[in-house]
Subunit: 121 residues, 2 copies
């Protein structure tokens, strides 16, 4: 794959953020640096980067795909009130059971839903 300024920009934005932006949010950030970048290019590159394993997609519950540049194995907590996504590094699960069932696991996506401490008040 050839180098492209736009693709690196998209990759940098996703990996530089601690939230879990949608394509549109990434597009808006990208336009601040590269005003002519198009939404199509952002989508194209997000898909390419996901295929290459340079970022992870999160399908939450809101119909939009969120992108996560943190490649470490972690889960997510999604607040049902404010929609905030919180990273959870504490819970890692055993894949042994699945391997014993003949399933080879390459990745996992775990979401927990509920209320965050802010919204509980």
């Amino acid at each position: 794959m050839r180098f492209s300024r736009q693709r690196e920009l998209v990759a940098d934005i996703v990996s530089g953020r601690k939230d879990h932006p949608t394509a549109d949010a990434i597009y808006l950030s990208a336009r601040e640096i590269e005003p002519n970048i198009s939404l199509g290019t952002v989508y194209r590159n997000l898909k390419l980067l996901a295929d290459e394993g340079r970022l992870v997609t999160l399908e939450t519950s809101d119909k939009k795909i969120h992108y996560d540049g943190d490649l470490s194995i972690h889960s997510h907590f999604i607040c049902e009130d404010c929609g905030k996504i919180i990273d959870l590094f504490e819970s890692a699960h055993s894949h042994e059971l699945l391997e014993n069932m003949g399933l080879s696991v390459s990745s996992e996506k775990c979401f927990y839903y509920g209320k965050c401490s802010d919204c509980k008040r």
Copy 2:
């Protein structure tokens, strides 16, 4: 909420199936019994049933929402080759850790990705 023939049909289809159909698949099934049912009605009722907790939505990776009528706590394995969704009843996770962080958990959705035993051959 008033009784409706269409809503019960949608509910029956989802809970009667062991796969995890999309709205469109449910619509096609529904039309075999209720030929005049509309896609809008299917969507409306799926959303109502999800709100009522009579079914669960699965946001996998394919942009379409899948519906699961099995309300027991279980995870899903998604084959990256054939797209098959396999129920995993074996792995239940502890929520204690999250509660200790001030997060109240009301539900979870865990997906494992990899190759199923058929596709490994």
